[in-house]
């Protein structure tokens, strides 16, 4: 019964989303009344989708194999935790999660919009409702997760074993919160274009939503990378897979948007560019959805292909993005960019930041789509490998990081070279000393590695110096009184430095050995002795595992006892490698169990990965910075201020 209830709730949610979409644009009735309808619509819609989602979860938890989606993605032996996460383990359910999250964002906008003018907020909700309606229709029409399978299957086919990992369980919801969250700035931008008025207020409303989505995207991508590292057994953390790129392109655009919003908020410059970026952000999310779900690209992550779905998403993409860009073409001419600035100013540096980020995003899009274009033009098939992406990514990002060290020290509008150089001198000296020390310690000889480490040191040193100056300048200010937006930026930039250190050192000085070891034998990698003790059988809930025990010693002292597993999942006999990792701040020791080679010997893959944690640590710092920035006092203070003067200019003292 409950699957039908879920299906019905979803159909109702579609109808409600239509009301939510139409009411704000209907004529008649006051703006307040239209806003009231849109608001109620957003909330009812969210409740209905939540009910539908709960029904699908219930079907998973209770092993209702009469639901085709459950029968394909669950199994009697699947543990409860993965039965809950299996809801988003394949196309239909993950789309339902997508719709739930979109309704959730709608609901959040409806709850938090006090400082917005009523007609504007109603329009934002209306546009969000229209997006919801499009996705509801997609689900109901092409991807119904509640499709029955009669007679019911006796047992399910099981969740793809690759997805049975905690990293994978949390990664999609985070990522979707980010993808879908970009719909909020998108709808703000479209509503502002419809209004034809793009004042500084628009950017202030948009900024915290963008920061939130960006934070979720950052966390989601980092979790995905961490999952790949643990689960795929290759010890890699990023593969430039089309689906990874599909998540990374929106991140780059959102990062650009974050920075250009800072300019638009403080200086009223770049407004039309900021609007365009807000449109690009969600467009990149939609493009990603198309690439993953239409089957045009081959990837480990891609969902089952169905041409009908591809056609629908493409049409939807055409309407949404095409519509927004048409609106932009028609209205952007009216946007007046204020705030003139000199060549040497924070505006210029942020402009360069935006250009670099967008160029990289475009390059990655090009690299992802090039094989498709190549095939479409009838030239055969080809694939673009990581070297191309690394070439497009690393130099631009290092340049960007170099500027990230300078930007926060420069003044708005106009700065002069001499004093700026003087302000930066301590950081430069610290960088050189730190860089020399690091180079000496690691004896890394290649130019690229040295340069990357120097730049990381530069970002860290100048960020910390800026922090110290701010702390000293406000002598009456203790740490907790510094604006959280500033603290957030400081953390995020330190995260960039940490990420560069991790990515550079991991790729430059990792050691990787494929060895054959029999019990009692050992092998030495990077000063660690790995002794293969034995292999024994360990039963799992829905798999049989063989677990090896590996004693890791350094100078005779035990460092770790690693237990990598080779699992064979009972439902479909798929074999999975569960790597064992001894994590550390300066290095990971990583062992993956390969194939048995006869005579008790096994193939083992042993990695020594220096500083690999810094990659995810850096991402965690960035996400933490995002959280701090969102909770900045000024958003709350402004809300109160604007409530007092609903239509008037926002309070000037916002910094």
């Amino acid at each position: 019964m409950s699957p039908e209830l879920g299906h019905f709730a979803l159909a109702l949610a579609f109808c409600v989303s239509l009301v939510q979409a139409a009411a704000p644009f209907a004529s008649g009735g006051g703006a307040e009344r239209r806003l009231g309808i849109a608001r109620a619509g957003a909330r009812v819609q969210f409740l209905l989708v939540a009910l539908s989602y709960a029904a699908l979860t219930h079907a998973f938890v209770t092993h209702d194999f009469s639901v085709a989606y459950v029968a394909s993605n669950s199994n009697l032996e699947l543990p409860l935790f993965y039965r809950i996460s299996a809801v988003w383990g394949a196309h239909e359910g993950s789309m339902l999660l997508w719709v739930l999250i979109l309704a959730g964002w709608s609901c959040a906008v409806s709850a938090s919009g006090a400082p917005l003018p009523a007609h504007f907020q109603a329009r934002v909700l209306g546009l969000l409702g229209a997006l919801s309606a499009g996705f509801h229709l997609f689900l109901l029409w092409t991807s119904n997760p509640f499709e029955r399978l009669l007679p019911a299957a006796l047992n399910g086919r099981d969740l793809n074993p690759l997805l049975q990992d905690p990293g994978m369980a949390f990664h999609p919801p985070m990522l979707y919160l980010g993808y879908v969250g970009l719909a909020v700035p998108f709808c703000f931008a479209c509503a502002a274009l419809l209004d034809g008025r793009l004042d500084a207020k628009w950017t202030r409303w948009t900024r915290p939503w963008t920061t939130m989505s960006w934070t979720f995207l950052t966390a989601g991508i980092a979790l995905g990378s961490w999952w790949a590292y643990n689960e795929l057994g290759w010890g890699g953390w990023w593969f430039w897979d089309p689906v990874e790129n599909a998540s990374f392109i929106p991140w780059l655009v959102a990062t650009a948007l974050l920075h250009s919003l800072a300019v638009s908020e403080h200086r009223a410059a770049f407004k039309s560019w900021t609007v365009l970026l807000a449109i690009f952000g969600f467009s990149a999310s939609l493009l990603g959805a198309f690439l993953v779900r239409s089957g045009v690209l081959v990837s480990v992550h891609a969902f089952a292909t169905d041409p009908q779905r591809g056609v629908y998403i493409l049409a939807f993409l055409g309407v949404v993005v095409g519509g927004a860009l048409t609106l932009y073409a028609a209205r952007a001419g009216r946007i007046r960019d204020g705030g003139a600035f000199e060549y040497l100013s924070r505006e210029t540096l942020l402009l360069v930041n935006n250009v670099l980020l967008v160029v990289v995003a475009a390059a990655i899009t090009l690299g992802t789509l090039y094989p498709l274009a190549y095939q479409a033009l009838g030239w055969g098939t080809l694939s673009i490998g990581p070297p191309w992406f690394n070439l497009m990514f690393a130099p631009f990002m290092l340049l960007l990081a170099l500027l990230a060290g300078i930007g926060p020290h420069t003044r708005w509008r106009s700065d002069t070279l001499g004093p700026l150089a003087r302000r930066l001198r301590p950081a430069a000296v610290a960088t050189l000393l730190l860089g020399l020390l690091v180079l000496f310690l690691l004896s890394a000889r290649t130019l690229g590695v040295g340069l990357a480490l120097l730049i990381a040191a530069w970002v860290a040193a100048s960020t910390l110096q800026n922090f110290r100056q701010r702390l000293r300048a406000g002598s009456r200010m203790a740490l907790h009184r510094l604006p959280r937006g500033f603290l957030g930026m400081t953390l995020a930039h330190l995260g960039v430095a940490a990420f560069i250190v991790g990515a550079t050192l991991t790729s430059a000085v990792s050691t990787e050995r494929d060895v054959r070891l029999a019990p009692g034998e050992s092998h030495e990698v990077a000063g660690y002795r790995f002794e293969f003790l034995d292999v024994h059988e360990v039963p799992g809930p829905n798999y049989e595992a063989r677990r090896a025990l590996i004693d890791v010693r350094r100078n005779g002292e035990r460092v770790a006892l690693l237990a990598p597993e080779k699992r064979v999942y009972r439902s479909d006999g798929q074999a999975m490698t569960e790597a064992a990792v001894d994590a550390g701040v300066t290095r990971d020791l990583y062992v993956a169990l390969g194939e048995p080679l006869g005579g008790g010997a096994w193939a083992l893959r042993i990695h020594h990965k220096p500083f690999v944690r810094w990659i995810w640590g850096g991402a965690a710092l960035m996400a933490l910075g995002g959280i701090l920035a969102v909770t900045d006092r000024r958003y709350r203070r402004r809300r109160r201020a604007e409530r007092r003067t609903p239509a008037g200019e926002a309070a000037p003292a916002l910094r």
Partner: protein, 178 residues
């Protein structure tokens, strides 16, 4: 309206055309290395009579379909009625490989939904499946009278695939032999 504000729209339009063309291509048509080659040797106990074996030589002498199925495979259930009808029509002999399955449920399954197969090999460990390069069930191979794989379909069969791809091949061999 200034022309430069139209640029994003034009770029997007070009991208949309490209994506639309991409939809018509199927990246999954990775030519199977087996198509056009001789079917691999195998020898499996017969599901309905484990004392006897089902081997590659049983496929020779006439064009046949080899369908890889299992009771845990939802797609197999989907295509099953089609196979039963096809077998009843007598157009082509259908052989099965019961892949990584349990013995009892597999027999019950055939009893319940009908048995379109001349015989099914019981491939509990999936060894024959590996030789055939099976990676997603159901899979169906068309095998010519000399034992060569002439066509492979991954995923549930549907009337369109049958009519457009499989039956023309089957008929072409009937014409040649008869």
């Amino acid at each position: 309206m200034k022309t430069r504000h139209l640029v994003p729209l034009l770029v997007f339009a070009a991208l949309a055309v490209l994506l639309g063309m991409g939809l018509d291509l199927n990246p999954r048509i990775v030519p199977s290395p087996l198509v056009g080659n001789s079917a691999p040797e195998f020898s499996l106990p017969r599901l309905e009579d484990p004392a006897r074996r089902f081997e590659r030589s049983d496929l020779l002498g006439r064009v046949s379909l080899l369908n890889v199925w299992a009771t845990w495979c939802v797609g197999c259930r989907d295509e099953h009625p089609l196979l039963v009808d096809l077998a009843r029509s007598g157009t082509v002999s259908i052989f099965g490989i019961n892949y990584k399955d349990q013995y009892r449920p597999a027999l019950d399954w055939l009893r319940r939904y009908g048995n379109p197969y001349v015989t099914s090999g019981y491939d509990a460990e999936g060894l024959a499946g590996i030789d055939f390069g099976v990676y997603g069930l159901p899979e169906t191979f068309v095998i010519d009278p000399q034992g060569n794989i002439v066509y492979k379909h991954v995923g549930p069969l549907d009337p369109a695939v049958l009519e457009e791809h499989i039956l023309p091949i089957v008929r072409s061999f009937e014409g040649a032999s008869g």
